[in-house]
């Protein structure tokens, strides 16, 4: 591979390595800084005097006696009851993922196996729906939901998130099912299975890689959502992200910004592990449909 002709000039190697190192610094630096700083007191993390205070925790030592403190986490999780919001997030995310995958696999399979013109139009409609800013849809829900007393509850939000997720799920699973050879389920049909039986016994056993990848993105959409959850959930049902947003107003007045920092870091941790374990699926998911054109 590395023939003499392909060897790169030292200047180029230096330039490209410098670019990558620089990129890695700006990509990960803020996260490392914030995770580290979340174990300090506010005087260190937002230090006017010397930025190195945040590294060594000078004020943290004088205030708490140790270089690291869990006060921010205690304040956020126990005092501000962030655990309730974390629990709500778990409920919303779990159900959103399960329901949207169930609907999406059925629909995506149908779209991949139907050669009719309306299947194409459905996909195009889904693309347009995918482009709708979520907040515009939310402004359509709000008044009817108030009228029908549906506003503020977790199930409402779950259904809404599932629906908003459908266009993307359909596209992704559709292109995934296209890759499963038609002959597989068709031979089952020839053997006398119904469509549902063919789906159940032939397609379901081989579809898991695609479903997992799609599920990851459904997870991310539900977990990262702010527009829907912040408007559609009542105060006590809030998930983590809108709660962090409402933290911002209250904690600043009380001088408890570290609560918000701790909450932010806590909400970041699951995502970190998600990337750690599912890196390959995320990469393959991002490129589905792209590389194939």
């Amino acid at each position: 591979m590395a023939s003499v002709a392909q060897r790169r000039s030292p200047g180029l190697i230096f330039f490209s390595t410098a670019l990558i190192v620089f990129w890695l610094m700006i990509a990960t630096g803020p996260f490392i800084w914030t995770v580290w700083g979340s174990f300090k007191v506010q005087g260190d993390f937002f230090s006017k005097t010397d930025w190195r205070y945040a590294l060594y925790g000078v004020r943290t030592i004088t205030e708490t006696g140790d270089a690291f403190t869990g006060n921010g986490y205690f304040g956020a999780w126990i005092q501000q009851e962030f655990w309730r919001n974390a629990f709500n997030t778990v409920i919303v995310v779990t159900f959103t993922v399960i329901i949207s995958l169930t609907m999406g696999t059925l629909g995506g399979y149908a779209l991949a196996r139907s050669g009719f013109r309306y299947a194409f139009w459905l996909l195009m409609a889904a693309l347009v729906f995918r482009a709708m800013p979520h907040i515009t849809l939310v402004s359509g829900y709000l008044l009817p939901f108030f009228e029908w007393n549906l506003w503020g509850h977790l199930p409402t939000t779950i259904i809404v998130l599932v629906a908003i997720n459908q266009p993307f799920t359909l596209w992704m699973l559709h292109s995934f099912f296209l890759n499963i050879p038609k002959d597989m389920d068709e031979s089952a049909l020839v053997d006398g299975c119904t469509r549902l039986q063919a789906f159940r016994h032939v397609i379901i056993p081989v579809m898991w890689p695609g479903v997992i990848t799609t599920g990851l993105f459904s997870f991310l959409l539900a977990y990262n959502d702010f527009a829907v959850t912040s408007v559609l959930l009542s105060q006590e049902n809030q998930t983590m992200v809108p709660k962090i947003a409402s933290f911002l107003g209250t904690v600043r007045q009380q001088g408890q910004v570290m609560f918000a920092v701790a909450a932010v870091v806590s909400a970041m941790v699951p995502l970190f592990f998600l990337v750690l374990f599912f890196q390959r699926q995320i990469v393959s998911g991002l490129t589905t449909g792209a590389v194939k054109g």
């Binding site: 002709a5 392909q6 790169r8 490209s16 390595t17 670019l19 990558i20 990129w23 990509a27 990960t28 996260f31 800084w33 914030t34 937002f46 006017k48 930025w51 609907m103 059925l106 779209l111 139907s114 194409f120 195009m124 347009v128 729906f129 995918r130 482009a131 709708m132 800013p133 907040i135 515009t136 849809l137 939310v138 402004s139 359509g140 829900y141 709000l142 008044l143 009817p144 108030f146 009228e147 259904i159 599932v162 629906a163 908003i164 459908q166 469509r195 990262n224 702010f226 912040s230 992200v241 962090i244 932010v264 995502l271 990337v275 890196q279 995320i282 990469v283 991002l286 490129t287 792209a290």
Partner: protein
């Protein structure tokens, strides 16, 4: 697949999309034609021992009853679209007549909430998208040349800005560039100005949000380009090399053409996502200097004491119109391709 089977398979997801995506659009269209009820006023007579005075007061009960009875509000036709917080025809005409130069006219437009938001949304979309594509390609080329061993960890680290919740990502950056944060304090020291704050100036706020946007989206284009680079045939590269192409020429004339479909894909995705920019404005608390279309809808719904459904709906419909205009080239192209396939 038979029509009937297809129908049953697609039903759940179709129902969800119709109920929660298509219906809200109808609901938004209807709501935008209505406006909140005025408060019901009654004349109250206050009599003191010396004289009687009549004053006008708000009849809370009647107002509440009216709102209860007709929650949609009163019919306003297209009035909401043309008022000051939306298209503001009257104000625009006035500004046009009053202003001496185009620059002056633009400055006056920026005082109108809708145009201010539109200007930021378009600027953000137009600046972030090309930057993301160029930066993503550069990183992909760089990572592709790395030794196999460090590729995995590099990709892992690169994914983080994109995967993290937008609100959280913007908060993390905000805390760093805030006046007390590490970068903010460093900037103050460099420019020797205690009052320097990125939040205080219009242009710096815009730049800060755009930098966040690039930081957030670059990993997406990097990953797509990186996957694309793996499919560039080695033979073509070698052939170009034998013909005497320099490294730059090989990138320019072999790699980049292979990437063109990917550029189209990334542009499409980025246009859709950047046009709905919203969370960073909340995260950076930047709404005083920069607002986006999504943000003004959110503000109508959550900002004040009374929810301005009509106003939010009108902005929503205008935003959707913007999305359709944005997607038009893609839709037309797909339409033509589809037509060719059928014929």
């Amino acid at each position: 697949m038979k029509h009937k089977t297809f129908f049953w398979f697609i039903l759940p997801s179709l129902a969800a999309m119709l109920l929660f995506i298509a219906m809200p659009l109808v609901s938004v269209a209807i709501q935008s034609l209505f406006v909140e009820h005025d408060q019901v006023l009654i004349e109250v007579e206050n009599c003191t021992p010396f004289k009687c005075e009549s004053s006008v007061a708000v009849d809370q009960e009647a107002t509440a009853a009216l709102r209860e009875e007709r929650p949609l509000g009163q019919f306003n036709a297209l009035g909401t679209y043309t008022n000051r917080s939306h298209l503001a025809f009257a104000e625009v005409r006035e500004a046009w007549n009053a202003s001496g130069s185009l620059y002056d006219f633009g400055a006056q437009l920026m005082n109108l909430p809708f145009y201010k938001a539109l200007a930021f949304t378009i600027t953000y979309t137009a600046v972030v998208t090309p930057f993301v594509i160029v930066l993503g390609l550069a990183i992909a080329l760089g990572v592709n040349a790395l030794p196999q061993l460090v590729k995995g960890p590099t990709i892992f680290c690169s994914l983080l800005p994109m995967i993290v919740t937008p609100l959280i990502g913007s908060l993390i950056l905000f805390w760093m560039v805030d006046a007390d944060g590490i970068l903010g304090a460093a900037l103050q020291r460099i420019f020797d100005d205690d009052q320097l704050s990125l939040k205080a100036s219009h242009s710096l706020t815009w730049i800060m949000l755009i930098v966040y946007g690039i930081w957030h989206s670059a990993p997406f284009s990097f990953i797509v380009f990186y996957a694309g680079l793996q499919t560039v045939p080695q033979e073509t590269l070698e052939a170009a090399q034998i013909d005497g192409a320099t490294r730059w020429q090989r990138v320019r004339y072999v790699v980049v053409p292979y990437m063109t479909p990917l550029v189209v894909f990334i542009t499409l995705m980025q246009l859709m996502d950047n046009f709905r920019v919203f969370e960073p404005i909340v995260g950076f608390s930047a709404s005083a200097k920069a607002t986006s279309l999504s943000w003004i809808i959110f503000n109508d719904l959550r900002g004040g004491d009374i929810q301005l459904f009509g106003s939010a709906a009108a902005t929503s419909l205008l935003t959707i119109l913007g999305v359709v205009v944005l997607l038009m080239p893609v839709l037309i192209r797909t339409w033509q391709e589809f037509g060719r396939k059928v014929v």
